[in-house]
Subunit: 282 residues, 4 copies
């Protein structure tokens, strides 16, 4: 039985000692420990993977952890059994490359998640969820229907107890309400090397500027467009002989790898957010 | 005897045929040919390396090229014997890494240039030119002395018939006058992945934004700050565990490689400028 | 109407001039020209993309090219209309990542090919061709059935006039007969940075050696195992904290990108083979 | 006062807890902790950076650490005050790029070492140590003088209490005796992506094989040539248009960055060796 524990709290001397001592007493064997102190905010972060024998009782563990450590150190913390799969919803629009990439990884067991459904504002890609036997909901979004569409989305998300959302080139700005319901749990892929070329048509802007390297960025969605905590970035070289179309084609490969890398880090609870930045324990 | 010929003009059918036919008649053997048409401006670019026998007369060649091709196709063109070394001036401030890198490459014969002198607005690095036996001029720059300093710089540049200038972390904004005297012949290194983090303190800005990759950009200097045609870019990964100081240290390695790559491309006349972008034939 | 012409022959002075002159006379506009001379073998290579008006007659063009250039320069050459899609067969075994990647690119129009069928020695992945409506043939291969299996493969390849074959992690050594039928037209993906770790279980070998970077290599298949001309390679960083399983997972991403890049280069006729090496005009 | 502690021992439950508890009692504040268990050999590795107040007494600390932890857990361990600079000797032959790179970093304070001397089997580069005011010893090595040369080298190394040796393209095979005196403390740079192209003339071999990516590898020297634990590797792309000379030039940039990265990791005691592999805590 393997447990992942993530913790953050104000930095105090002796925390690592206290936590590892507690785990030792509980019969746990620490197989992985990573920690970080953000020196600007003086916040301490820790991620531990710990193995326990079969008799392990998670409910008791959580109660004891809280009373012996969580309260006294004023920790934000959570523990996760590694055999419980989180529930991931995918939002898409008309581009299929990220969706295919996520679903083929899911299909081959590489992504340890459940995918209760896929939502799109168009029905162009309806055939792909069907190929993979995943429920698909077509929820059109127009200026007028935006509010209604969002209600339908939220209803589905709640009903299926979704843990996090992946915007696989969704191309729509998600509402503040949705963002607040899923803070640091909506993962977007933006097709540029942020903060360069935020907003619309980044490949066109990159082409116009004459950059020699293009990129893609996966980040948690916050209210400010394309300005949330960056989880992962990737880059590839381009030359003057590449057209905008070439940029888009090369970029697609970046987008799908960068997005799926970010999704895997999130699933493994290897990301923590601090000060609009991510810590990535990998 | 090897000649490099660079050409650009309005795109017209038959140019490659006409130029290669001319070279063939002149007894030249084309060992390298690269061409590009910018579809937005409809401008044709070509770079050729051509070998000739010993009897080759460059003056006659140039006259014939102009009368038979240059005039009729309305070409901007130039030809360069590969054994003539261009004259490069280096401007530095207080950072030594790019200067050391350029001088050690020069010293080992990797850079086929002459370096008539090095200019700095500080005297901190005076010992380095001395190590390498290169003349050094300390020309301080203050708000008041800016105009005078620039005159001294220009005087030196003219006197030594400098072909191009390398700003090896010079940290000063060069004047419009200097830029106009050396259009597309002043090479700067900016310590970010442009267009992200233009201007001052890019590593601090990158740290604050929480990027996962940092970069460096070498470009020709134009009037708009950090907005000239990009010659070369490089990137390297960073993580949440890197401090700003780590960014700066890792960045130095990028800066020196990216700058010297750009300088070599310029020396080999492998760069051409079009529409505030570079073509790099490499 | 766009034509791609690929040529190689003994290097001779004046070839570029002769070919571009011929194209000019035929009313063609050269939009892309790349050439290379292999100095060891003294062989000249050229690839041209040329646009013609609507009245263009390819049959006549080919006859004239041959009589006016091909014969006199003793060229190996071919011309290809860009609207004719080559026929690609895919061979797979049990790994699905490369197959999914190729089919999703095919499905979205990124790969300009026809895929008449997919062959596998196992039926594990039969559901994937079905998802994409591509015919699937299960041809088991055992020591005893090897000869028969190969005959069946060849029969299918011939019947469907296959132009080239992609081994998408096929995991079987293909026979000399097949290789000779499709010289430089069978593309394999090997899961290491060749020539390191040729043969079986390269990720295990890389893990044992403690490398800090792993790779994948796409190459044309020749009789010597994993020793054919390399088309494309890719790499990614690993650390001591990665297990062999992590190597395999990270490697899959490399494999699919590297293989599809090689396939696209081949489709665009941007690869030429010389001396067991490839020229890649990209 | 900052202390770096490195530990390895057989893996046992409770080690992290015991060590962090000890440091806490001693008034230390753990600012960085990294650990790893090699599952094949079941060896536990840990590296800790810990801050102490001014009154800290290292001698007492070491005694207490040993009696309370080192002995009972049967640890191999050492502690290092961060203000004590290790002594590094450099061996070179005729290539100057790595030497220039190391010395310019040393000169600008980037490398926290002392460099008591530089040894070369040739006197070609004698002028460089002179530029940087570092003692230089020319110790020629021939078949006959090999034994004598080695004695002279060892005498200098002992006399100056050298901590570790950097072979900055030394081009000579160092003797078993030297290797045994400095186990995992001789850092070499090999100009290929090991294990590909071990031995002599790797760029020539890479060119012949037609690879699309070349590399450089820094490793600890062991008796088997180019087979020691890899510390760092770097790669760069090449194409068919690059000559062997281009490979060498591009490779030099890799070599100097890879070597200096490895040297910095070693200085910071971020490398540990296990099973002929390195752990790199970075």
């Amino acid at each position: 039985m393997k447990l992942t524990i993530v913790i953050h709290c104000a930095d105090q001397i002796g925390i690592i000692s206290a936590v590892t001592h507690f785990l030792h007493k509980k019969g746990g064997n620490v197989v992985y420990l990573d920690q970080h102190v953000d020196t600007e905010t003086n916040v301490f972060f820790m991620r531990i993977e710990c193995e326990f024998d079969n008799g392990f009782n998670k409910t008791n563990f959580d109660i004891d952890f809280n009373s012996q450590l969580g309260n006294s150190y004023n920790m934000q913390w959570s523990s996760h059994a590694q055999n419980v799969k989180p529930k991931m919803a995918i939002f898409v629009s008309k581009y299929n490359h990220c969706l295919y990439d996520l679903l083929s990884r899911y299909n081959s067991g590489e992504l340890a998640v459940e995918i209760p459904f896929i939502i799109s504002n168009h029905d162009d890609l309806a055939y792909i969820p069907q190929q993979f036997d995943v429920p698909f909901y077509h929820i059109p979004v127009s200026k007028e229907s935006k509010y209604l569409a969002e209600s339908k989305q939220l209803e589905l998300l709640k009903k299926h107890q979704i843990d996090f959302i992946v915007l696989a080139r969704y191309m729509q700005i998600v509402s503040t309400k949705l963002i607040n319901e899923y803070p640091n749990r909506i993962i977007n892929i933006h097709h540029s090397f942020l903060p360069a070329f935020a907003g619309a048509k980044p490949y066109h802007a990159a082409f116009k500027r004459g950059v020699k390297i293009i990129g893609a960025t996966s980040h948690y969605v916050t209210e400010e467009l394309d300005a949330g905590p960056i989880i992962e970035q990737g880059v590839t070289r381009v030359t003057h002989s590449h057209s905008i179309k070439d940029f888009i084609t090369k970029g697609k490969d970046l987008e799908k790898i960068v997005l799926s890398t970010a999704v895997k880090l999130h699933i493994d609870r290897k990301t923590m957010v601090c000060n609009n930045k991510t810590l990535v324990f990998s």
